[in-house]
């Protein structure tokens, strides 16, 4: 028995040594901090490696935590590329000075100006729309019009939406501030809370399921959740999703709220060239199609084929507000939701 400690010690040393070893120094590689979860990015990265021979090292995590890590590691951070699933965090990364501008004719040609940073610091890669979803059997789409109109009395006790902790809701309210002003946005938030069918809980899928089961008639949720449910192997989930239809609000005005997932080259990047190539790869037609087919997100690049599901939902006009602005208004949005009692 008394030999055990030695064995453990060796294991311990070995494990520690393994921890110290940095990613192997092969000829070309690129290090990625990704807020997009592994399952939704790995296949694309593998394809990139296959095509270019550049190895991709990956850490996934929550965007805020990755940003904090990037910030504290400073100029020695091993990360070359930061990938997030909302523009707010890209804006924050720029404000913190942890990303850098790149000059890429390929990206400029592929990505419309409204979905990238004016100075070239970050680049949108896919669009995530947050429209209204309604119960086909209980709501006539003619009754619907805009986000603003959801505060009407006829919707009392009929609306489901997730917690205001969620960045998608924060961005949505930020877009209301940008369009209608802070006072009107607060008024709106209060009205919306008054129309809640239940206190917010769960994620976007839960809101969709709540509509399907009759707890509420309307939900605000990102479309790709509905897409995943429609394609689910679980029959109950699939039939729940089929009870809902999408309504694109504010088509006569500014358009439906969208956010982007995007990427940026970090300031500390040592593999800058590979980093640019990776982002360029993510903007190619095949990668853009992949987003639509696998995660039901909208490609930023025009002319890229949509998946049948996206085609079914129809085309829509997207809010063209500069996404930088939403990042700047995020704090104010959270405060407004706190004051409105939006849990």
């Amino acid at each position: 028995m008394h030999r055990k400690p030695k064995f453990f010690l060796i294991t311990l040393l070995a494990a520690t040594a393994a921890g110290f070893s940095v990613p192997a120094l092969s000829e070309s590689e690129v290090n990625l901090y990704s807020a997009r979860q592994e399952a939704l990015i790995k296949p694309l990265l593998e394809k990139f490696t296959e095509e270019t021979g550049i190895r991709v090292n990956l850490v996934t995590g929550k965007a805020d935590a990755l940003l904090k890590r990037l910030e504290s590691e400073g100029r020695n951070s091993p990360a070359d590329v930061l990938l997030t699933v909302d523009a707010g965090r890209l804006h924050r990364a720029k404000a913190l000075g942890v990303i850098q501008a790149i000059d890429s004719p390929v990206l400029e040609a592929a990505i419309p100006a409204s979905y990238r940073d004016p100075e070239g610091d970050w680049w949108g890669l896919s669009l995530r729309a947050r429209p209204i979803m309604y119960a086909r059997d209980r709501v006539n789409p003619d009754e619907l019009e805009s986000y603003e109109a959801l505060v009407q009395d006829k919707w009392r006790g009929r609306i489901c939406i997730r917690s205001s902790d969620n960045i998608y809701n924060q961005s949505l309210v930020a877009s209301m501030i940008a369009s209608d002003g802070a006072a009107a946005a607060e008024q709106w938030a209060r009205g919306l809370v008054a129309n809640f069918a239940r206190p917010p809980r769960g994620g976007d899928r839960d809101q969709i399921k709540a509509v399907a089961s009759g707890q509420c008639d309307i939900a605000i949720a990102n479309t790709y959740y509905l897409g995943h449910m429609l394609a689910s192997t679980d029959e109950a989930e699939q039939s729940a999703a089929e009870k809902l239809a999408i309504f694109w609000p504010n088509q006569d005005g500014r358009g439906t709220h969208v956010n982007v997932s995007g990427a940026a080259v970090t300031r500390s990047a040592r593999n800058r060239e590979e980093a640019v190539r990776l982002i360029e790869f993510l903007s190619t037609d095949s990668a853009q199609t992949w987003y639509a087919q696998v995660n039901y997100e909208y490609p930023v690049k025009s002319g890229v084929a949509w998946s049948p599901t996206l085609t079914d939902w129809g085309t829509f006009k997207a809010d063209q507000v500069n996404l930088e602005v939403l990042g700047e208004l995020n704090t104010e949005a959270v405060r407004i939701m706190d004051r409105a009692g939006w849990k």
Partner: protein
């Protein structure tokens, strides 16, 4: 907060505790504690930054909710774990009823299930859209609002979920204490005419109090640190508030100040515990081996006892694990790929190494406190254990900041002096991860080790010392062998906790390094519960073996004396 350096012992009795220059043990304990307190102190240092008028905003809007919910959660989970833990521990320790053998170890199983996973599974089962309520609606033709059904995603639901996975801490420690109790005091009580109930409440329970309180305080600290469950259930507590303030409102200082308030909850807990013990001593005089035979329950008592033990097991383990298994069978073909084994291996190795490190640290600190019972060492040990009540993300940031600073300072120095860039030596390594685990889970091991040490009479130390052994040798040759089961228990508890740990792992891990918890979380957070179930179930399975070992370790003494059993 009292800083260890200002602590001058006046309260504790005895000549040993008088102020003097720190010796090797004191210095060692204090330095280790300071290192382990570094992350918490780093976060605390933000307290002194001006937080602007965010506080006015918080006080006017959400702060009352945070306080109310956090307190309610603590009271609820405290009562829940106490009732389930102590009842089951007492029944399985001194009574005999159907299934008792099985319950002895099986009651620990809920410990293997991460709290946020049990929350997901119960929502899947009992939510409005779940099979139970759908069935009710189908039978009755009712719709939404026509009938009342307890809402699982609520404060009450969060209390239930956390109580179900945390009661094993109380059960484990209380049971160890009941089993170790020498039968003498109980029999004295009986001869003095105390009934079975009275002797439980007046003798057995008070004697087991340090262990029970240690168990409940572990459960409560874990409750305070919980983020996944309360966030999913939409219950605003301090933990969710910290994240909202930090990231949503973009105010790190105010978030740190909220963390400081959270820590003061913990300080109060610790003070209550210290006060409850005051100067009482709980050393056993016997070896606990001469217990008389079990009380064989008959009639209705038999089956009430069975039910009392079966319900926590069923609700805390059988139902959720069963649901996971059903989902996993459906999802496994798509989700269990070649990388899955690597995930499991990472998880188990990481948990094993972390458990060993934490165990050594805990033993060192607990023993240091025993041989140098001065205020300074006691305070240092307490502060080092506080990491358990701090949300993993906060600890992780507290690890990340100083490590990166050290790395960058070394790098600058090497660049200036030698023209070599050393890059990041500590940040983003397994070492950083292991350090974070040590900070976070020291309290788990510390509580077990301390209550184990407390049960060894000090005359053992005196005898060994008088035979010329150094304190270190006494630890090695007397205490460690005497407490081998306690140590095993402590190590395995940490093992299971690291296996379940998520937030720190997520932020601090190196490139291309994933664990089961990370995989389960990524899918579950995307509300792909079924897809996450193979990973979640693997965490549970990997945790079951150590949990059974823990149980055997606790039951050990009795078994070894009755080999026929």
């Amino acid at each position: 907060m009292t800083s260890p350096s200002t602590g001058i012992s006046t309260a504790t009795a005895g000549p040993r505790s008088r102020w003097r220059l720190p010796d090797a043990w004191t210095a060692g304990v204090v330095i280790t504690a300071a290192l382990l307190a570094l992350p918490v102190l780093t976060v605390f240092s933000f307290v002194f930054y001006p937080a602007g008028e965010v506080w006015t905003h918080l006080v006017e809007t959400v702060l009352a909710d945070y306080v109310r919910n956090s307190l309610a959660l603590m009271v609820g989970v405290g009562v829940g774990t106490l009732l389930m833990g102590v009842t089951c521990a007492w029944l399985t320790s001194v009574c005999d009823f159907p299934g008792r053998r099985l319950f002895e170890w099986a009651l620990l199983l809920p410990m293997a299930i991460p709290a946020y996973i049990i929350a997901f599974t119960y929502t899947g089962m009992l939510g409005f859209e779940g099979p139970v309520q759908s069935q009710i609606r189908e039978w009755t033709g009712w719709g939404y609002g026509d009938y009342w059904f307890p809402e699982i995603r609520s404060l009450g639901g969060a209390i239930a979920m956390l109580s179900l996975v945390l009661y094993p801490y109380v059960y484990l420690l209380a049971r160890a204490a009941f089993l170790d109790q020498s039968v003498a005091p109980l029999e004295v009580g009986r001869t003095l005419g105390a009934g079975r109930w009275r002797s439980f409440f007046t003798i057995a329970l008070p004697l087991a109090r340090p262990a029970v309180i240690a168990g409940v305080s572990l459960a409560l600290m874990e409750t305070l640190a919980d983020y996944g469950t309360v966030q999913y259930f939409g219950v605003s507590t301090f933990t969710t508030g910290i994240f909202r303030t930090w990231f949503g409102l973009g105010d790190g200082a105010a978030a740190a100040q909220l963390s400081a308030v959270l820590m003061s909850f913990v300080l109060v807990l610790i003070l209550i515990e210290l006060w409850s013990r005051r100067r009482a001593r709980f050393h056993q005089t016997g070896t606990g081996s001469q217990r008389s035979s079990r009380v064989v329950l008959v009639g209705v008592h038999r089956w009430s006892a069975f039910l009392a033990c079966f319900l926590p097991l069923m609700l805390g383990f059988l139902l959720p694990a069963g649901q996971l298994a059903v989902w996993a069978v459906a999802a496994a073909p798509g989700m269990v790929d070649s990388g899955f084994l690597a995930l499991a291996l990472n998880s188990v190795t990481l948990a094993g190494v972390a458990a060993l490190i934490v165990l050594v640290l805990a033993l060192f600190m607990a023993y240091g406190k025993r041989v140098r019972g001065a205020f300074m060492t006691s305070a240092a040990v307490r502060i080092a254990g506080m990491g358990y009540a701090v949300p993993g993300t906060v600890i992780a940031v507290g690890v990340m900041l100083p490590f990166a600073r050290i790395d960058n300072a070394v790098d600058s120095w090497m660049r200036d002096g030698f023209g070599i860039s050393t890059g990041l030596l500590l940040s983003g390594t397994v070492f950083a991860l292991l350090f974070a685990y040590s900070v976070r889970f020291l309290a788990v091991a510390l509580n077990s080790v301390e209550s184990g040490l407390a049960r060894i009479r000090p005359n053992m130390d005196h005898a060994a010392r008088s035979l010329g052994l150094s304190p270190g040798a006494v630890l090695r040759r007397v205490h460690v062998p005497l407490m081998s089961r306690t140590l095993l228990t402590a190590g395995l508890l940490v093992f299971v906790d690291v296996l379940k740990e998520l937030p720190a792992t997520l932020i601090l891990r190196p490139f291309n390094f994933n664990t089961l918890a990370v995989r389960a979380y990524e899918l579950a957070s995307d509300e792909r519960l079924a897809d996450s179930s193979p990973a979640a179930l693997s965490i549970v399975l990997a945790g079951i073996v150590p949990v059974i070992l823990v149980s055997r370790a606790v039951t050990g003494p009795r078994r070894s004396r009755a080999p026929a059993a």
